[in-house]
Amino acid sequence: MSALSESRIDRRQLRALLLAAWKTDLRGSGNPVAPSGDGSRKIPPVLAVMALKLFIGLGLGAMVFIVREPFTAAFLVFSTMTVFLAITVLLEFSNLILRPDEHLIIAALPVGSKTFFAAKMIHLLAYVNVLGSLICLPPAITSAVANRNPLLLPGFLIAGVLAATAMGLSFVLLYALLLRIVDREAMQRVLGYANLALTLVVYLGYFVAPMMLGGYPLSAIPRLSPGWIYLAPPAWFAAVVKLLAGEAAPVDIGASLFALVLIAVVFRAAMSKLSLEYAETLSDTIGRDEPLRKRGVGGRDSRLLSLVAASEDRAVWMLIRKQFKYDNRFKTSILSILPLTAIYVFLAVLEGGVAPDPFLAPPGDAAAGGYFLLYIAAALFPYMITFGTVNSDSYRSAWVFYASPADRTRIILSPARYALVWFCLPFTLLLAGIFTWYFGSALHAVLHCLVIYAILVIQTRMLTLMYPRIPFSQPPKTGQRTLYIFVLVTLSIIVMCVPMGIVTAVGYGGYAGYSVWLGGAMVINGVLSRIIRRTIPRRAAGMEFLAPV
């Protein structure tokens, strides 16, 4: 009897489940709601994510060339890789770990718990290992060349696979434990906040690690030799590199063993915790009806909203609020930005020093650059909300926007308006408070924040022009969110930080200069608004609903 059948895993079912999962991942995003002629095959997001990870690997490869020493280089590479993979798993968790509809699909079929779970586990591990290997490949080659030791190439790759496996298994175990210990009634809420907490931990790791090494040029990073470094899991896998390269000291052999024991323990624990019942629990959780506060329609909220928003906005905004409350995928996408924003604000306040008042002579103080993180944080909101409101498990329900006499252009613009009113405006007010503290002038802070808000409006309009979509109308795809995060962060930096960089460098040049800045932003907004009015209705009219009704 094979090992597979001994553990009650059905080999054929496992193959079928894995093939289904991989085909789903790798097929291009044929849009069920798409502009005419948009049904052509596209590059699957998962391949774009792979390219992105390889790009990160190239950066790490350059770093390894400078650092050289294998253990130190491997420690830095595995630390970075683990953080990036953890972010990926967090962003894609509803595709990789928790798929609410999975139970509905599988429950009626004679698939055993172990088989189901093995398929989930292999799918996740294959994903993180492929991405991990792409991150590790350039540093592995660089390290082997720089140290003239070819064994470092397989050493890096094998240790990287082990590190990625340990990270993936840890996540599975964590979610499985959560599903066991938390009351089903509370699970819906807890899952969202658990992701929030995990995101905070991951992002903190991402920022704390560079802070620990900060201030040193890479070439000056000391060889990481103190004993305490072995308390950090990446060091255990860095020790594996040394072991496989034939350079291991006794402590490295011990650390390597620790890495293997870690994987074995986590694998065994996860295997015993997760099952088809886990999917059932999840399905039950998602479908569970929490007690709702009874209220009439057309109540206070609607009447207030009717003063500021069109009918289409009211309809879409209500949908966004409800999706946020009950759709874990959407909730996680929005909540994941909050820890990042909090960290940015914290670091900006901690490191930014006294930000230069752009109405006074610019001091050109390099230390003041820290508060640029505030601009990036502000810039993330429009992208996150507009992208977050595109993909949904409920995409088939978007027929309602086609069958009603709603202005499709307004429907497309509604999420951006929602972001501007409910996220950008409060955050800009928060910034006004922070800048009042920095500048010592509330007036200057408010005026400066007006420019920031105008840039945020520019961003949302550009985004609408680049990616006009009916909200909650596209099916989710593995890898899509990771790719979007990369794109949106890049765009945020460009659109927000370039003008703010100029303001920091040369200042507004007094109130007259400020008027030029604000006027310029308003002119750009006007031009973009005109382009939107001309192009979006045409593109909206060309959109077709191809999903089954």
């Binding site: 009439g296 329609v297 289409e312 409350k325 077709e544 999903a547």
Partner: protein, 257 residues
């Protein structure tokens, strides 16, 4: 009045709707019949504005459904076959959203929604998430959403699906009452007995093409058959039903001993 002229729509090489023309007079219940993939849903989707025709004209109440789609849809209600609803909303919130999309007066929404939910026996579930609704409840909610704005044209795609016999009778009567003041109902269904009893006229489609159009009696006479079912089978080229059933059993190894 609805006028469809030379309507055509292709998906790549496949002609889903091929040069189809028909008219529906005010006050008529019009049946749209055809086997799966015949093009019924594609025609409906083009009438509603979900798809753009490759060629042809769709005129509803004197308005072009492509160039003046918002005006057309303001007077149109639609019940889709899939029952797709945003399940995180409550029934009441779904109606509220639909009312907003129809630009209904905010002050009117509450009373209208309450009355309609009550009439469709959904009052107790009004403040529960749609995720917890049965298929029949979802179907009734879809119907509520389709008529809450009091449209002149109602398009129903398998509206009886999941409904119990009593509610089906109510819906049938509602449809008859609905057309009494010269409104139009388009009724897509695979239940031929219901279509035969309910529809004034009907059209049978096959592989995107119109096969026949007329009253149920005209169609039976035209095909020299005794029932709509027989006429349907003859027009859509169904194989001998008995031998097809036998073929299916043979494919899985024949009848069990």
């Amino acid at each position: 009045m609805i006028t469809i002229s030379s309507l055509t729509k292709s998906y790549g090489q496949l002609k889903a709707v091929d040069d189809v023309s028909f008219q529906i007079a005010d006050g008529e219940i019009f049946g749209l019949l055809g086997p799966n993939g015949a093009g019924k849903t594609t025609i409906v989707k083009m009438m509603i504005g979900m798809l753009r025709p490759d060629a042809g004209i769709i005129e509803i109440n004197g308005l072009d459904a492509v160039s003046r789609s918002l005006e057309v849809k303001a007077d149109l209600g639609y019940v889709p076959e899939s029952g797709a609803l945003y399940e995180n909303l409550t029934g009441r919130e779904h109606l509220e959203m639909v009312c907003h999309l129809h630009h209904m007066d905010v002050g009117r929404i509450d009373g209208q929604a309450r009355r309609l939910l009550g009439a469709l026996e959904l009052a107790d579930a009004a403040d529960k998430r749609i995720a917890g609704y049965s298929k029949g409840m979802k179907q009734r909610l879809l119907l509520a959403g389709a008529i809450i704005h009091n449209p002149r044209v109602l398009i129903l795609d398998e509206p009886m699906s999941g409904l119990d016999a009593n509610i089906q009778s109510v819906i049938r009567q509602l449809i008859r009452e609905f057309v009494r003041d010269r409104r139009i109902v388009i009724f897509c269904s695979h239940i031929l007995e219901v279509v035969e009893r309910l529809c004034d006229r009907l059209m049978i489609l096959h592989r995107g093409r119109k096969m026949i159009e007329g009253t149920p009696g005209d169609i039976m006479a035209g095909t020299e058959t005794d029932s709509l079912g027989e006429a349907f089978s003859r027009l859509t080229g169904a194989a001998d039903i008995q031998s097809q059933a036998r073929g299916i059993l043979d494919a899985i190894g024949g009848p069990q001993p």
